[in-house]
Amino acid sequence: MTQPILEIRNLTRHFEVATGGMFSSKRGIVRAVEDVNMSLERGQTTALVGESGCGKTTLARMLLRLIEPTSGQVLVEGQDISTLSGGALRRFRMGVQAVFQDPWASLSPRMRVFDIVAETLVINERLTKGELTRRVDEALISVGLRPDMARLFPHEFSGGQRQRIAIASAIIARPSLIILDEPVSALDVSIRSQIMNLFKDIQAEYKCSYVIVAHDLGTTRFMADRIAVMYLGRLVEEGQTETIFESPRHPYTRALLSAALPIRRGGEKARMTLKGEVPSPLDPPGGCPFHPRCPQFIGDVCTTTLPPMLRDGQGHAVACHLHPDTNRMAVVQTNKEMT
């Protein structure tokens, strides 16, 4: 097997927060991301799925090195990104790009489209003016805009077009990995499908890999080769998109899928409504973090023991005591004890 573009090893991020009143010195720890392991093959797309507070955005930000991990590693093309500096860091900043949710907030209103799109190259590469213009034109054409639009300002564009500008600025340095954080949620329904098709075209053209953070399951089914389901900072299930959608194993994944509302009626499976809400990540439940809401709770083992993430021969991993198959391999056991 070739080297994966991205490998995440025991990645953990805790935030210290004040939990008392305004003048209290009481501190608590939010376990935003806890011991996450996964990898992504070149040219593939993996989706991080979960509800607000599950840690998917914190995880995505660690991949961009916008947040440093508390422990664990992120390896891009085999290199631990926390060790990078100088030229290697610059190459990383070029090679890993991001497209964010809100194209009204992510583009500087005072810069022309040309400068927005060219910025990565201007900072990181020495190009002639002619070469730079050629690259900007090429990026704009790739995202379905006209080169003459480069002299305009962001406010002269609609939301869908702005997101195209953000995509052009992400692809201009020909990155190998692009982090997409809810890239279509701020767009209108009729524009979303244009942009989602565009992401697929870009992937085919530039052979880049995507990590997409999305809460809409229709979007993830369309975009992703693999799905990673997070709950309270931990991965609870990970596998091929079709496997996850057709035969989800973790009760949380099942509940999440059943909460998605298909537009056609008929042949509907019985819906599984979860009781209660996601507990506070300041004080996650012991044992399996999902046990207080789990409709398939099986007893003491759920409240006392954290289920290990076990992967079967097809690469489908799940962390749940309902699936303790002994012939499956533990992926990476929680290694708090070892360190």
Partner: protein
């Protein structure tokens, strides 16, 4: 496009709403008619700029001041035309006869009062009475919307609650006056999917218990499919299609509805490519004389571009199915 029925609680007729901008008046709602019956949920579907929220604000008479105004039409609620009521009379209608749930629970509640105070205030305004007697009723309302541990949460401030819990409280406030109609403008957009499902079920339970009519404004066709009995589809300030949800989803007759249904990525199966509607919705200031969807419509011809289409019965003949199109039922 009104289904004339005896038990329509709310009937909107040929509503026209304008915004007065520095550049001139623009018509944001251009002749919208619909009705909703007791115990019925009507979905209003559309994209940003379609006029769906402006329709809701018009019905509540809470258009942005001073630029918004109702330029024509009637809004009949239990025999009274809301368009003709004075501001003082309208204040009595809001909360008592029409309840409203807005998109963002974080901004709908006042951060400096406890949720209990806000519920009691709503009860005082809608039903009157002394504060002491209303506390028990407020806690009852919180229980009705499934706020767990309501006695304790009564004393909580909004920031101490989750988004889903806050939206339940907003729902409880809208129920305070036992309204005949609840207008919900994208109430679940800010909620997580599992919480969204809980909330939709709550709305159904409330409707089952109280018989209230619900007008649910959304861009999410999945929610319409799950919750609504009938729907109207809006585009550029007009209703382009109306009918029972089953009818419209199974045999959509307007090319825009067809395209919208085709462009949604499916949760229940994988496709390689999504259908994408070319172009973008028109700016309301630039609408010409023809069908406003014509520039994006694969079927558009000269007539579509020059003349506004009439509203006709859907080609499948289903009851209440209407469509504003020169070529109804031709799009696939």
């Amino acid at each position: 496009m009104t289904e004339q029925t005896q038990d329509a609680i709310l009937r909107v007729e040929n509503l026209r709403t304008q915004l007065m901008l520095a550049s001139g008046a623009i018509d944001v709602v251009r002749g919208v008619s619909f009705s909703v019956n007791a115990g019925e949920t009507l979905g209003i579907v559309g994209e940003s700029g379609s006029g769906k929220s402006m329709t809701a604000l018009s019905v509540m008479r809470v258009l942005p001041r001073p630029i918004g105004r109702i330029a024509g039409g009637a809004i009949w609620l239990e025999g009274r035309n809301l368009v003709e009521l004075s501001d003082a009379e309208m204040t009595k209608v809001r909360g008592r006869q029409i309840g409203m749930i807005l998109q963002d629970p974080h901004t709908s509640l006042n951060p400096v009062f406890t949720v209990g105070d806000q519920l009691v205030e709503a009860l005082q305004l809608t039903t009157g009475g002394a504060r002491r007697g209303l506390v028990a009723r407020a806690i009852g309302l919180m229980k009705q919307v499934n706020v767990a541990d309501a006695e304790r949460r009564f004393h909580a401030y909004p920031h101490q609650m989750s988004g889903g819990m806050k939206q339940r409280v907003v729902g409880a406030i809208s129920l305070a006056g036992a309204p005949k109609v609840i207008i919900a403008d994208e109430p679940t957009t800010a909620l997580d999917v599992t919480i969204q499902l809980q909330y939709l079920q709550l709305l159904e339970d409330i409707q089952h218990d109280t018989g209230t009519a619900i007008v649910f404004i959304t861009h999410d066709l999945g929610i319409v499919s799950r919750l609504c009995h009938r729907l109207v589809v809006m585009y550029a300030g007009r209703i382009v299609e109306e009918g029972r949800v089953d009818t419209v989803f199974e045999s959509p007759a307007h090319p825009y509805t067809v395209a919208l249904l085709n462009s949604v990525p499916h949760v229940d199966r994988r496709v390689e490519r999504l259908y994408a509607i070319p172009g973008q919705p028109p700016a309301l200031s630039e609408i010409g004389s023809g069908c406003s969807f014509a520039p994006r419509c694969p079927l558009a011809d000269e007539q579509c571009r020059s003349q506004s289409p009439p509203t006709v019965p859907g080609p499948d003949g289903a009851t209440g199915h209407r469509v504003a199109c020169w070529k109804p039922g031709e799009a696939q």
